[in-house]
Subunit: 144 residues, 2 copies
Amino acid sequence: MRSPAELSTAFRERGLKVTPQRQLLFRVLHGNMTHPTAEALFATASELMPGISLRTVYQTLNDLAAMGELQVLHFASGSTRFDPNVVDHHHAQCDRCGDLRDVYVQRLDELQVHGFDGFASRRASIVFGGLCPACQSISDNNPT
Amino acid sequence: MRSPAELSTAFRERGLKVTPQRQLLFRVLHGNMTHPTAEALFATASELMPGISLRTVYQTLNDLAAMGELQVLHFASGSTRFDPNVVDHHHAQCDRCGDLRDVYVQRLDELQVHGFDGFASRRASIVFGGLCPACQSISDNNPT
DNA sequence: TGCTAATTCGCACGACTTGCAGATCACGGG
DNA sequence: CCCGTGATCTGCAAGTCGTGCGAATTAGCA
Ligand SMILES: [Mn+2]
Ligand SMILES: [Mn+2]
Ligand SMILES: [Zn+2]
Ligand SMILES: [Zn+2]
């Protein structure tokens, strides 16, 4: 996702207005590495602008996603997560606490895939499952 | 997922009863390559056993998943899909029609991953995006 | 055959997201 | 700087997907 200033320009170019609510969300999202849900963003935004509505958060997230400024991620846990990091990357999620981190994968092209049968693959998205460092130590102390 | 007969035994061993509804679902799921949703299974099951409830379908799917007989898949499209193929495999999904197919990937261990930072990866799940053969010819005729 | 715990089913409810409409606001033009 | 107009905001209703609940039914066992 681009900077708040660049996004403001991009919105106006599309005939979209740059409202205080949108500017706030631009700032909250920019460089955000937490892969937040709409609810989480709403909570953060509400502290800075009491009264902002959840509906507006969804609206703006959808606009940003449509402009390719956000990646939309779907995991097991109920709700959608939004990722301002649109650089080609993948994710590692902790089985225990759900923590989600970015990982960068090289040599994807060396994978040998059977079963495409004419399927034209354009992109791959990898989710690694395992335990984050914090949950590893917990598991060490309290083995299940 | 094992055969209906084996599942019946496994259910009884766990103190779960083998009802006609469950037996039907065992049969509908066994060898099913469509990655069906609960609704899709309900539709198929309803033809063979009018009156079966969607609630029972969900119940049985959850039981099977808890026993490791089904994989639970979450994609962008709204609802959960269930996969009786529990052999280690991955998926390719058509961007246009949503068709989902199994693919088998080798040399996963040769991937170079940056960003784990102590994350203990135990498993990876890859989703390839692209166009299925049918949708490729449509795109050829009607380029967007 | 009879007991009992498990299951089924329908409905209500919960989580998440979108549709809707009136009040409000951003912003280009005068 | 002010206006007009269309985009936006907000609260609420509604939609979708899945689960909790409880009365009636049933599988499995003695
Ligand atoms: Mn990310
Ligand atoms: Mn599969
Ligand atoms: Zn963790
Ligand atoms: Zn297709």
